[in-house]
Chain length 393, copies 2
């Protein structure tokens, strides 16, 4: 191609954008016959198809013109009210005017980045952290620092590394990818340390409702309302294909997030907002979410059993008490990236853990999803992983 | 509020974000009883509600799990194929792989800005231009220059002002706000000049299918494929509440736009994409769009008649041959911003033209939408505008 045929000059930030490692892996591993424990897809068996049918019928009967017209950038008022009430049950007390409906919570991450990150400014993340957040923030060209973490999440004393950061991005409930859930004591200590450091928090909670034994402790946003942006999603409790999430922001940020939202896509599809509100308005989730709990808990148990039965000595994992993922530590020296093709050859796939670190990737880690495939396939997939690992040593 | 209670530091770009002037005006003017010719809302009478009902029923019957699951960031393959065929009929020959489905074409503008604009880099726009595009680009901190325009659009010799610009943003068909449509000769001359200057084009075409007499000439993208990004929308031919648009990019830009899309919202709702594809796959628009033409043409004629009957001497407008807007020039010295409250007092609203200029606003201009309200109300609204204007002089 000659220079005449490509007059385009890319923005500097475009260099920071890369194909999603996970999506590239998924392409390789989605060939038929491969048992994929790689993806983060909710089980389609949990999608409330009949309720969706009834809700779309009602919306298109009762308010078709409103549902199909341009709508407010803030979101559909009754849905915002529902969200405010939903998070109040978790201890996050907000006015519905503080709720911004987004096109999936991924958009919430993009808007937060757009409003808060300058090129060269610092943001802080966990180790490991959600890859999609790193991708959402990267185009705004931050310096990303990692705070020290243990199995409960970020260490309060680790916040020293985040001095002057615009925010700490944290996923306290059944984190993607580690599966860990932050306990009450850590939440209190972390929030206190953040407030003392003047370090704002961006709290992402896509998995909090997917608990198996006990509901997680109250969100960080309930402890430091003025210093926390809270993100939620309908993707894991209803269906991700609707792309519905929300951001709850302190008053200091609300107007700018709204303006960023207007500029980004005018508003989230009003049709989807009304359909989802119609599905959930009369307590549907109170019956529906426990069926997801029961299913995912059985899957979790199947994966735990398979890991215990098959994995060789020197491998470690913590059994998650909710969410969608096991995080596995292989023996020191084993590179999960190099192992992947051998696992795929045997018929299974996972995501190497390295992708989830902003810096200093731990190469001997990997993520397994237990919700997408059936328990008998989980068992076979884990057995194949163990075989690949044993053949490798 | 003490500084302790607001630990947030906004990004510099947040200063560039402002509440949408139009949305603020709409809030004022949407009080009951005001005849609003201000908004850019398609007539809900054109929404294909019955076809939507059937399509949602079929999608939720035939592919509910796929429609509700996470999906490809590129968009739903059959919809991308449909778009490639649709634009081929206009002379834009592309592979479906070059089509990126977006959450409304507003998102296309945001992604284009994200990938192409550096802080301080120059972009060029028409005078007047679409306000939503200015808002989408603003957070990326461009220097915006205006190219000289006449009633046919940008003057080829005006491109000198755009030297070194990352792109010229241009809306050739029934432009929002001016209603003008670029003729064949101007398209040829403008594209030649852009190519000669190495100035890429971002061509926005939300209104091109809304022609009343003859289809507009072929898009700029058909004349300089390697140098043009083309944006399209389903908002004006189906319904805006679905938030479905698309970007067609030359190969040099495709991967970066896709990565920006992934980071922005993972993908546009798959449910919406499948429903729209189900509606349009068998030639629905061939029957449906002509009904919109007939309706909007009658509205256009009503507004033309009302303007001719009521407006005082010294006012000028060009009769649009498609789209949704009349652009009116008031007598020199009249400030349409100052006039607005007086018009609202009399019971009608419009958008002052000043909002649509990146620089050197022409204060004596205003935009009237002829598609949202019924012809008899258009007549009354224009009469009120004329009264306000006469009382003002």
């Amino acid at each position: 191609m000659t220079s005449l045929s490509t007059p385009w000059q890319l923005a500097r930030r475009a260099e920071r954008m890369n194909p999603s490692v996970i999506r590239e892996i998924l392409k390789i591993t989605e060939r038929p016959g491969v048992i994929s424990l790689a993806g983060g897809l909710p089980s389609p068996d949990t999608f409330p198809i009949e309720a969706m049918r009834e809700a779309t019928t009602r919306v298109l009967r009762d308010a078709p013109r409103e549902a199909l017209q341009y709508a407010a950038s803030e979101g559909y008022a009754p849905l915002r009210e529902w969200v405010a009430q939903h998070v109040a049950e978790k201890g996050v007390i907000v006015d519905p005017s503080q709720v911004l409906i987004t096109t999936g919570s991924q958009q919430g991450l993009d808007l937060v980045g757009k409003v808060l990150i300058d090129a060269g400014s610092t943001i802080a993340v966990e180790a490991p952290t959600y890859l999609g957040a790193l991708q959402a923030f990267a185009p705004y060209e931050p310096e990303v620092v990692t705070v020290a973490c243990d199995e409960h999440g970020p260490l309060p004393e680790g916040l020293n590394a985040a001095k002057g950061a615009r925010f700490l991005y944290v996923l306290p409930n059944f984190q993607n990818p580690s599966g860990r859930c932050m306990g009450e004591a850590r939440r209190a200590a972390l929030t206190d340390a953040a407030r003392a450091n003047g370090l704002p928090l961006v709290e992402d909670n896509p998995y909090g409702d997917l608990w198996f034994d006990a509901e997680p402790p109250a969100p960080l946003a309930s402890r430091w309302a003025q210093g926390t942006v809270y993100l939620g999603s309908f993707s894991k409790v209803l269906a991700p294909g609707l792309r519905l999430g929300y951001v709850i922001a302190p008053q200091a940020l609300g107007p700018k997030l709204l303006q960023a939202k207007q500029a980004a896509d005018l508003h989230t599809p009003g049709f989807n907002q009304r359909v989802v509100h119609e599905v959930i308005r009369n307590g549907f989730l109170d019956q529906h979410v426990p069926t997801i709990h029961a299913r995912y808990k059985a899957h979790r148990d199947a994966m735990r059993g398979a890991l215990e039965a098959h994995m060789p000595a020197g491998c470690y994992w913590t059994v998650p008490s909710g969410g969608m993922f096991f995080w596995v530590e292989l023996p020191a020296g084993v590179d999960a990236v190099a192992l992947l093709p051998k696992a795929v050859e045997r018929g299974m796939a996972y995501v190497p853990g390295a992708a989830f670190f902003a810096s200093a990737p731990r190469l001997n880690t990997l993520r397994l999803s237990f919700v997408t495939v059936a328990p008998d396939l989980i068992e076979r997939g884990v057995a194949m992983l163990a075989q690949a690992l044993k053949a490798n040593s």
